[in-house]
Symmetry: C2
DNA sequence: CTATGTTTTCAGAAGAGATTGAAAGAAAAA
DNA sequence: TTTTTCTTTCAATCTCTTCTGAAAACATAG
């Protein structure tokens, strides 16, 4: 029927990869189509134009356009041109680790950073304007103290995570050693958060 | 109006934490309510029953029940009882790193493992039944060879990621050293996948 | 300038996922 | 046993996200 044989081994493998990658994407908060477009560009390895993508994935022009723009914003797909052709072509980052780094970097920027900001704001509600030198005159009530400890632990965790991620994100391998040392420091010993812990953590 | 003052600092901080955590959850493929229930249990730190949660989050009984069951399945919330009370109470894992490990472990199990299985299947389409001793008589066409290389790189990446994660997941700090060494081996040199090296998994 | 080819936008349609609420199920007390 | 209390289930409903398609915007050539 179609001009392109749809059942050769390569095409079949590509289609399956696209489906699987799309599935994965949607489990991680990325729209299925966007993940599929990326999968197609990655697995074919060659630059494709909007019409190629529309045809292959059977999606509308609008959808293709928006997905591509989003992928460009994530920095994991780039534009190219073919000479004598007015169309834009798109190709995906081919190094998996570079791809991974770009994704981690973006998600941190978009989700973790704002989260941190919110957490600091929340901390200010019960620990207002706490400067290092200014000791509070009265100890806070136990409920507040507990709350503060939990919140601080959470903040501490995300700070560590952010530091850690710099190991992945940095283009040189350098940051990795930092990350590794942070890991051994922080993960190994979940630390003195609980003095005499009643032992609820292990079995969970 | 209500018996509980809704505007004291602690309550306000808790509500805000719940909102922020719910937001974060939904960006990561977890239903907002489920994340909110978890947030509430984490930040209050004390066991709550279904009715407490329904009231505080203004959700239906069915929703509360389902969210709690899901959280139990994730292993980040546990059941408790109060003596003289027939109701079930729930409390959240209080160690942030333990919580993190549980989440990573579950997501790997639910998403990465099936993905890996699919990737292996896809590989079999273009590299069928490739046994170590049986060399193919003819080299595959370039398009297939390229495809295979890309797919192998992806598989290699997820294998590394899985190994890495064992460092986080293992309750002892031991696995961490492994993770760190994998990191320095694989991340630092992402390029090694291209040239002409047949054995793809040295340390794995 | 107009004509032609290409990309973006966005209101409405379609679809996916979350939530409710009432009924059924379970378990402990009487 | 029956009653009471609490928990789970699931079809119907609602909500939010994604997708479409046609129009508008843009760009290049002539």
């Amino acid at each position: 029927m179609s001009t392109r044989p749809t059942s050769d081994a390569l095409t079949q493998a590509q289609d399956q990869f696209v489906a699987v990658w799309g599935q994965m994407g949607s489990a991680w908060g990325i729209s299925r189509t966007m993940a599929e477009v990326h999968a197609l560009l990655y697995i074919t390895g060659e630059p494709l134009c909007t019409d190629d993508i529309m045809e292959r994935l059977e999606i509308s022009r609008g959808n293709a356009s928006m997905s591509l723009r989003a992928l460009l914003e994530w920095g994991i797909v780039s534009r190219t041109h073919k000479r004598g052709d007015r169309k834009e072509y798109f190709q995906a980052e081919q190094h998996v680790w570079t791809l991974f780094r770009a994704i981690v970097r973006e998600r941190i920027k978009r989700e973790v950073d704002p989260l941190m900001a919110s957490l600091y704001e929340i901390r200010d509600i019960t620990q207002p304007h706490q400067r290092a030198d200014a000791r509070p005159s009265f100890a806070p009530p136990a409920a507040i103290a507990d709350h503060n400890r939990r919140l601080d632990e959470m903040i501490d965790f995300f700070r560590t995570l952010e530091t850690l991620s710099q190991g992945f994100v940095s283009p040189s391998g350098r940051g990795l050693e930092i990350a590794a040392s942070v890991l051994s420091g922080s993960v190994t010993g979940p630390r003195a958060a609980e003095p005499a812990r009643p032992g609820e953590g292990e079995s969970l």
